[in-house]
Amino acid sequence: MLRPYVPLLVLLALSVVNAIFMVVLSTVLSPGGATKVKSAPYESGMTPLGNPRERFSVKFYVVAILFIVFDVETIFLLPWAVSARRLGWAGFAAAGIFIFILTVGLIYEWKKGALEWD
């Protein structure tokens, strides 16, 4: 009855094991004790202290959006790359059109100044 779910269970188990393994590994391997700076969470260079209600710059958001869009592009390109040879020139042309349209978007963003931090 539950046999078809076995792969799912295996996946679940593996991810749990992996998580535990990572945490343990970093504890074991990390040198020295915990200073105040070291125990603070890492936030990509932002200072994590301060009023939690303080506003972020909207730039973070813009970059995040850019990331989403160009990230999703890979879910189309990856399957294409896997079978690029079988799809032939037609497939290549299709992928080319796709990338061309994305490039136009990129040019727009560039010119708009969305890629500059200041």
């Binding site: 078809p4 792969p7 959006i65 989403i68 869009v69 990230d71 999703v72 879910i75």
Partner: protein, 101 residues
């Protein structure tokens, strides 16, 4: 290898979809509302994948499209929510009733 029965997969999909739809009806934070909608879309993705063995591999291809569309929607939707936030300092949809009847 034996497959997960279609009924069970569809049941899960329907359950997720219903949770998403109910979330849209009962939550009032715009962002959570949007997350509920994303949940609905992903429930549909599950249904597509579940149908795939029987109806053809396109089902899985559709999922890619849905993910891409969802990403685009997310980008626009979050931008809209930010723009609304600037007026109201809030994302509670209960506060948005300039337009009614």
């Amino acid at each position: 290898m034996q497959q997960i029965p279609l009924e069970q997969a569809l049941g899960l999909s329907a359950l997720l979809f219903a949770i998403g739809a109910f979330g849209v009806v009962i939550r009032r934070n715009a962002i959570i509302l949007f997350m509920c909608i994303e949940l609905m879309l992903n429930a549909v993705n599950l249904a597509f994948v579940a149908f795939s063995p029987r109806s053809g591999v396109q089902g899985q291809v559709f999922v890619f499209f849905v993910i891409a569309v969802a990403a685009a929607e997310a980008a626009v939707g979050l931008a809209i929510i930010i723009s609304v936030f600037r007026h109201k300092e809030s994302v509670d949809i209960k506060n948005f009733s300039l337009l009614r009847w």
